[in-house]
């Protein structure tokens, strides 16, 4: 209430100054030359009014349309939300397990290598053993022939299809996207992917989905080619955590978030440290500036007119 009246005052003052063009310039320049502390407060109010006016002019933002963007997904409390929150690495490990057993038959993650998992979800030996389970085509040997060998840490995660055409052919024309960056490639990616994976339901009355597609309100258009993949007990976790649909969804999204942003923990640490240090530097700089300027700010002018 009080804030509304306050903002109205600011706007009136700002609008009033806007309607008088030339007087404003002289007003502004006079306040600049004026050493009086009170008018600088008026200037601050004017700038605040300008900011509020600008902000209010953006109020006609186009609101998200469900038909175009899909059902708006809720914000889930991810364990890695927050300035100083790390990933839940046990969740990343379980999520990789879900990916490997449920998703990898259709979705590639061709930007992740086995070595990326070391120190994040698996030990070096475990990652080496996992890599060795796959066959990789390697460059020409001394005889000029390509050969296959067991995978190494430096190899990428295997792709289920040779190319996009093969993927589309095997999935009724739809291409299962690569998941390496999916949480960054979709708006509100983490919440969207979780809502999508757990959001399969019967279509409402009157909506029919053609054969081969499935109803999912979070998918733009409502009809997605992927069937519901997360079902209770689909995976048996190594650490004994019960593999409910929501648990698997949470773990796989943690894994995908890590895959898209492996640098997040380092970034948060660096950000916290440097914002803290630069705030101290700002205080020092402000003090130093005022110290040096104090000479000028406290001078007195004497008009010595000879007449």
């Amino acid at each position: 209430m009080v804030g509304g009246g306050f903002i109205q005052q600011i706007l009136r003052r700002k609008l009033h100054s806007q309607s008088l063009a030339t007087p404003v310039r002289s007003w502004l320049s006079s306040t600049k030359a004026n050493v009086d502390a009170g008018s600088s407060g008026v200037r601050a109010f004017a700038l605040l009014g300008a900011g509020v006016t600008g902000l209010l002019s953006f109020s006609t933002v186009a609101s998200a349309d469900e038909a175009e963007h899909g059902l708006a997904c809720p914000d889930y409390p991810w364990p890695h939300d927050g300035i100083l929150s790390s990933y839940d690495h046990a969740s990343i490990r379980r999520g990789h397990q879900v990916y490997q057993q449920v998703c990898a038959s259709c979705h590639s993650m061709s930007l992740i290598s086995y070595r990326d998992l070391v120190g994040v979800a698996y030990t070096e030996e475990e990652a080496k053993a996992m890599a060795a389970e796959i066959e990789v085509v390697d460059g020409p040997n001394d005889e000029g022939e390509m050969f296959t060998r067991p995978g190494k840490l430096s190899d990428r995660l295997p792709q289920p299809y040779a190319n996009e055409s093969a993927a589309r052919f095997a999935n009724g024309g739809a291409y299962p996207p690569d998941l390496s960056l999916i949480t960054k490639a979709r708006h509100n990616g983490q919440n969207y992917v979780f809502a999508l994976l757990t959001g399969y339901r019967d279509p409402p009355a009157g909506i029919s989905i053609r054969e081969g597609l499935h109803y999912n309100p979070y998918f733009p258009g409502g009809a997605i080619a992927m069937p519901k993949m997360l079902n209770d007990e689909a995976v048996e976790y190594e650490d004994g955590v019960p593999a409910t649909e929501a648990q698997m969804g949470k773990d796989v999204v943690s894994f995908l978030s890590w895959a898209a942003e492996p640098e997040m923990e380092e970034r948060k640490l660096m950000g916290f440290k440097w914002i803290f240090l630069l705030s101290l530097a700002l205080l020092q700089a402000a003090y130093y500036r005022r110290l040096k300027w104090s000479v000028l700010k406290s001078r007195k002018l004497v008009l010595d007119v000879v007449n």
Partner: protein, 67 residues
Amino acid sequence: MANQKGALEGFYRLIMRRNSVYVSFIIAGAFFGERAVDYGVHKLWESKNVGKRYEDISVLGQRPVEE
């Protein structure tokens, strides 16, 4: 701000009389100060993220390695 006997006055007398001492203080202070900040932020990080680290994974190393 600080009178003759203030703490800042003592700081000035000790560090800022000679520029060589001042600069050395800044460089050494930056080095050890950064180490201290890194240690402090790391401790804060660890206290906020109990049980979520890679080292805290309960089944680490239990995957069958012999193939």
